[in-house]
C-alpha cells in the first residue's frame, strides 16, 4: 500500500521515468480514473454550490413567506418552497454548508485522533495493547445514546461558548469523530508496525533520531496514502451519519436545515411535492458518491503497483 513498496515486474516504465515529485505521479494516475475525475468535478461543484451559491442567490433561507408556501419550481423559487414559504434553493445551499462542513470537520477530527492513536500504538510497544483495547471499546459503543448524552452534558457550556449554531455543530461533529476514528487507527497501526521494521526507520533510529522526529519525518509520510483514503471515506460516512441522525430526529434540530433534516422534514410531503425529498436526497447521495469515487481514484493512484497502467 505504501509508495516504497516494491515495483511490480510488469511496470517497465517505472524505471525509465525521470524522478519527480511523487504527487505528480499520483495526479497522473488519478486523472485517468474517469470516475474519480467526475467525482472530483461533482464534489467541487457541490462545494461551489454551498459556498459561492449563497453569494449569487442572495435569499435568506429563514425568510418566511406564507403567501407562497409549498410552491413548485418557478423563476422566483427555482426549487420551490417549503411549508412556510422558505426558499428551498437557499435552504439547500445553507443546509449543504452544514452537511459538508460536518463531513469535513468530523473527518478531519476523526483522522487526527485515529492517526495519533494508530501511530502511537504501532510505534511504541507499551501503548499498543491498551490503545488497541481502547479501539475495540469504542467500536462497541453505540453512537446514538452517546450523542444524546453528549448533547445533554455539553450543550449548555458549548452554546454559551460558541452560540447555539456552533454549539450543536461542534457537538455533532465531535460525536461523529469520536465514534469513527477506529478504522483509521487500526489501519495506521498496522502500517506503522510494518514500517518500523523497515531499513530506513531502523537506520534513523540507529543514529539516534528522536522518536517524535522519526514519526514525523519517516513514519507519517509513509502512512499518508491509507490516511488519504480513510479521509475520503470519513467524509462520506460523516455526511451519511449526520443525515441519518437528523433523519432519526436526533441530529440537528428542525430550525437547522441540513440536508438530512430537510429530507426528514420533506418525507411526509413526498407524494405532493416529491422534490422536497428528491433534492436533498440527491444532494446527499451525489456528495457521498463523488467523495467515494474520489477515494477510489486516490486508492488506485496511491497504489504504486497499479500506477501507470
Amino acid at each position: 500500500m505504501t509508495e516504497t513498496a516494491k515495483a511490480a515486474p510488469f511496470s517497465p516504465d517505472e524505471a525509465f521515468r525521470p524522478p519527480r515529485n511523487q504527487w505528480w505521479d499520483v495526479w497522473d494516475q488519478f486523472k485517468y480514473h474517469r470516475g474519480a475525475l467526475a467525482g472530483l468535478a461533482v464534489f467541487v461543484a457541490i462545494i461551489v454550490f454551498v459556498t459561492i451559491g449563497p453569494l449569487i442567490w442572495q435569499v435568506d433561507p429563514g425568510a418566511i413567506n406564507i403567501r407562497s408556501r409549498n410552491q413548485g419550481m418557478s423563476m422566483t423559487y427555482p426549487l420551490g418552497t417549503d411549508q412556510l414559504g422558505r426558499d428551498m434553493l437557499a435552504r439547500l445551499m445553507y443546509g449543504g454548508r452544514i452537511s459538508v462542513a460536518v463531513g469535513l470537520v468530523a473527518m478531519f477530527l476523526g483522522l487526527v485522533i485515529g492517526t495519533l492513536i494508530g501511530v502511537v500504538a504501532g510505534y511504541f510497544k507499551v501503548f499498543d495493547s491498551p490503545l488497541m483495547r481502547l479501539t475495540d471499546l469504542f467500536l462497541a459503543l453505540p453512537l446514538l445514546p452517546l450523542l444524546l448524552i453528549l448533547v445533554a452534558l455539553f450543550r449548555d457550556p458549548l452554546e454559551t461558548m460558541f452560540g447555539q449554531a456552533m454549539g450543536v455543530f461542534s457537538l455533532i461533529v465531535f460525536a461523529i469523530a469520536i465514534t469513527s476514528w477506529m478504522q483509521t487507527a487500526r489501519i495506521v497501526r498496522g502500517d506503522v508496525l510494518a514500517l518500523k521494521e523497515r531499513e530506513f526507520v531502523l537506520a534513523a533510529r540507529s543514529i539516534g533520531t528522536p522518536s517524535l522526529r522519526i514519526n514525523t519525518r519517516h513514519v507519517l509520510p509513509n502512512v499518508l496514502s491509507p490516511i488519504m483514503v480513510s479521509a475520503t471515506l470519513g467524509i462520506a460516512t460523516a455526511i451519511i451519519t449526520e443525515s441519518a441522525l437528523s433523519f432519526l430526529g436526533l441530529g440537528f434540530p428542525p430550525d437547522f436545515p441540513t440536508w438530512g433534516r430537510i429530507l426528514y422534514d420533506g418525507r411526509d410531503w413526498i407524494e405532493q411535492y416529491p422534490s422536497r425529498v428528491v433534492w436533498p436526497g440527491v444532494l446527499i447521495s451525489l456528495t457521498v458518491l463523488s467523495v467515494n469515487y474520489i477515494g477510489d481514484g486516490l486508492r488506485d493512484a496511491l497504489d504504486p503497483r497499479i500506477r501507470g497502467r
Partner: protein
C-alpha cells in the same frame, strides 16, 4: 342459568338504538379488525404506564365503573346508574360516594365481578411502592369499602365536590383481584403475564401480546352484551411512523384504524380525498400555548435564585409587554399551517368542555400589530437602529424554547417573525422532548425549570373537570429549588385574587356556579397575559370507510365503544 337470563335482559336494555336496528349483526360477525398505533403499546396495564396509547389499548379489556361519553357526559359502564346527590349515591356532606355494580357481570375467565375487585383496584394503585400512574385519581381517599358483593363506597378525607375521579374514565380501571393479588407494590412489574394479558370485563381478551410491537385480541365470550363485539378478532399493530400509519389506512387499506396522526394538514387532507378512509377529529382540553416567565432566568443569578420569584422578570413583568407579545401573534395562521382542520385558534386557558370555555377573549384571534406596537411604545420600549426595541440600554430580546418537533419549530419561526415585526428579537432554542418534559431536577433544560423567557408546549387535563388544572396556577405551586423544581405553575404566576376564586371553586358543588367560576378564573388568567394560548388541538385518528360504529371520544379512550364497531358490507 339464572345469571345468564338476567344478563341477557340487562344487555338488551343497554344496546343502543343503531345496534338494535341492525338486529342481524352478531358477536364476531364482522370478522377481523386491523388497528395501527405508530407508537406501539408497551403494556396492557394502564396503571403501570400512564401513556395514552396504553390506556387506549387497555380500554377494550379493562373497564372503569363509569366512562365519559363523546359529549363528556358521565355514562354508567359497569354500574346501572351514576350515583348523584339526587339519587342518594353521593352523600349530603360530599364526603362519600356509593357505586352499585351491575348484577351478573363476569370477568372474561367466567368468574363474577365483585366489590372486592373494586377495592383491590384501589389498593393496587395506591400501594406506596407501586409507582401507579393514576395514583392521583385516588388521592384524598380515606377508605374504599365493600359494603356487599356488589356495592362499594368511597370515603373521602375531605369535602369532595367532584367525587367522579376514582374508578371513572379509561385510566382508573377495575382489575381482577384473583389475577393481581400477588402483584402489589414493588412486585407489580414481576407479574408480566398479568400485565400483558389482564383479565377484564371489556369486549376483548388478549390472545397474544408483544410489547412495543403487536397485540392480538379475540372477542370476550363472557362479554355482557351477547351480540357484541362485532369484530371477532383484532390485530393492534405498533411501530413505524405517523405517515406510514396514515398511508396504511388512506392508501393501501392495510389498516382499518390509525391513531394520533399528527401530520401536515395538507398532506392528510389530500390523503383523505382518496376516499378510502376518513379523518376523525374532536376537540378536548389539549391546548398549545406559550408560557411567559414571570421570573428572571438569567444565568448570571446564583443557583437557587435563578428562575425564582425573588427576581421578577426584567421585561415580562410588565403586562403591556405580555399583551403586545400576544397581540402580535397570528393565531389563525399558526393553526392553518400547523394543524389545519385538526386545530382551532384559541385565546382561552380552559378550551373544553364547550360549556366551560370562556366566550370573553376572542379579541386576540386577530393579529393586531398596531396595538402591539402602541403597547410597547407606552411601556417605554423605543425602536433602536436595527429595529429592535431598547429601554434603559436593554434590548428587547427573548429566549424562546420548546421541545424538538417539526410543527413547534415552524411555530417558533413564525412567531419569531411576528415578534420581529414589533421590534422584539427572539432567540430560538429547542430541546429533545425526553429531556424537556422530564422532571429530572439535575437538568437545566426541563420545562419545569423554565430557564428561558418564553416556552411553548401543549397541556391538558383528564376528564371534564378543570379544577385541578386551574389549581396549578396558584401561588406557591411554582417549581422552585425548595420543591426540587417540582410544581405545575410553570410561569410562576401569583395572584391572590385568583387563589381566592379557586378556593371557592374547590368548595362549590353546584354545576352552574362551578361553570361561572371556571370561566372567571380562565378570564383572569388569560387577561393577565400570563400565558398565551395559541391553538386548541384536536385528537386525530383515521378510520377506514369500511368500518362503522366508530364514535370519536376525547374525554375517554377513543376505543370506548369498540364493541359496537362493525364492518360495513359492500
Amino acid at each position: 342459568m339464572t345469571t345468564r337470563t338476567v344478563l341477557l335482559g340487562t344487555a338488551a336494555a343497554l344496546v343502543l338504538a343503531p345496534a338494535s336496528a341492525m338486529a342481524e349483526r352478531e358477536r364476531g360477525s364482522s370478522g377481523h379488525l386491523n388497528i395501527i398505533y405508530w407508537q406501539a403499546v408497551s403494556t396492557m396495564n394502564p396503571y403501570l404506564s400512564g401513556g395514552t396509547k396504553e390506556m387506549n389499548a387497555a380500554s377494550v379489556v379493562l373497564e372503569p365503573l363509569a366512562r365519559f361519553d363523546n359529549l363528556g357526559e358521565l355514562t354508567p359502564w359497569l354500574v346501572d346508574e351514576i350515583p348523584t346527590l339526587e339519587n342518594g349515591g353521593v352523600a349530603e356532606d360530599l364526603k362519600s360516594i356509593t357505586w352499585k355494580l351491575t348484577e351478573g357481570l363476569l370477568w372474561s375467565d367466567g368468574t363474577p365481578v365483585t366489590s372486592a375487585d373494586v377495592v383491590f383496584s384501589y389498593e393496587y394503585c395506591t400501594h406506596p411502592e407501586g409507582g401507579c400512574s393514576y395514583r392521583d385519581r385516588y388521592a384524598g381517599i380515606e377508605q374504599v369499602e365493600a359494603v356487599d358483593d356488589l356495592t362499594v363506597t368511597v370515603h373521602f378525607e375531605d369535602v369532595t365536590p367532584n367525587p367522579y375521579l376514582p374508578f371513572v374514565g379509561a385510566g382508573s380501571v377495575i382489575i381482577q383481584r384473583a389475577q393481581f393479588q400477588d402483584c402489589l407494590g414493588a412486585r407489580a412489574p414481576e407479574c408480566t403475564d398479568a400485565n400483558f394479558a389482564p383479565i377484564g370485563t371489556g369486549p376483548y381478551v388478549v390472545s397474544n401480546f408483544r410489547p412495543n410491537d403487536v397485540i392480538e385480541f379475540v372477542a370476550n365470550e363472557n362479554y355482557r352484551v351477547p351480540t357484541q363485539p362485532y369484530f371477532e378478532t383484532v390485530t393492534w399493530a405498533g411501530g413505524g411512523d405517523a405517515m406510514g400509519a396514515a398511508r396504511a389506512v388512506f392508501q393501501t387499506g392495510e389498516m382499518d384504524y390509525a391513531w394520533n396522526l399528527q401530520l401536515a394538514p395538507e398532506v392528510i387532507e389530500q390523503m383523505e380525498a382518496g376516499g378510502r378512509g376518513e379523518l376523525l377529529v374532536d376537540f378536548g382540553p389539549l391546548m398549545e400555548r406559550i408560557e411567559l416567565n414571570f421570573t428572571d432566568p438569567s444565568p448570571d443569578l446564583p443557583d437557587g435564585e435563578r428562575g425564582t420569584r425573588e427576581h421578577p422578570h426584567p421585561i415580562l413583568s410588565d403586562i403591556r409587554v405580555r399583551e403586545a407579545l400576544s397581540r402580535a401573534i397570528d393565531r389563525e395562521l399558526l393553526t392553518e399551517i400547523g394543524f389545519g382542520p385538526m386545530g382551532m385558534a384559541t385565546c382561552n386557558f380552559i378550551v373544553a368542555p364547550p360549556a366551560m370555555a370562556s366566550p370573553n377573549n376572542d379579541n386576540c384571534l386577530v393579529q393586531d400589530i398596531d396595538r402591539a406596537n402602541e403597547l410597547l411604545d407606552e411601556a417605554g420600549w423605543e425602536r433602536g437602529a436595527d429595529g429592535i426595541r431598547v429601554k434603559d440600554g436593554q434590548r428587547l430580546e427573548l429566549l424562546f424554547q420548546t421541545s424538538t418537533n417539526a410543527v413547534r419549530q415552524d411555530f417558533q419561526a413564525l412567531i419569531q417573525a411576528d415578534w420581529r415585526e414589533i421590534g422584539v428579537d427572539t432567540r430560538l432554542r429547542n430541546i429533545d422532548a425526553g429531556v424537556f418534559f422530564g422532571s429530572d431536577p439535575g437538568s437545566n433544560d426541563t420545562y419545569l425549570k423554565f430557564f428561558a423567557d418564553a416556552q411553548m408546549y401543549a397541556s391538558l387535563f383528564e376528564g371534564t373537570d378543570p379544577t385541578p388544572h386551574l389549581e396549578q396556577r396558584r401561588c406557591g405551586r411554582e417549581p422552585q429549588p425548595s420543591t426540587q423544581w417540582q410544581g405545575q405553575n410553570i410561569n410562576r404566576y401569583c395572584n391572590p385574587e385568583y387563589d381566592e376564586l379557586w378556593a371557592e371553586l374547590n368548595r362549590e358543588a353546584d354545576p352552574d356556579r362551578r361553570q361561572e367560576l371556571v370561566i372567571a378564573l380562565n378570564d383572569m388568567f388569560v387577561q393577565d397575559y400570563a400565558h398565551l394560548p395559541l391553538v386548541a388541538r384536536g385528537r386525530v385518528s383515521a378510520a377506514s370507510t369500511t368500518v362503522g360504529g366508530i364514535v370519536m371520544n376525547v374525554w375517554d379512550s377513543e376505543h370506548w365503544n369498540q364493541a359496537e364497531w362493525y364492518r360495513i358490507e359492500e
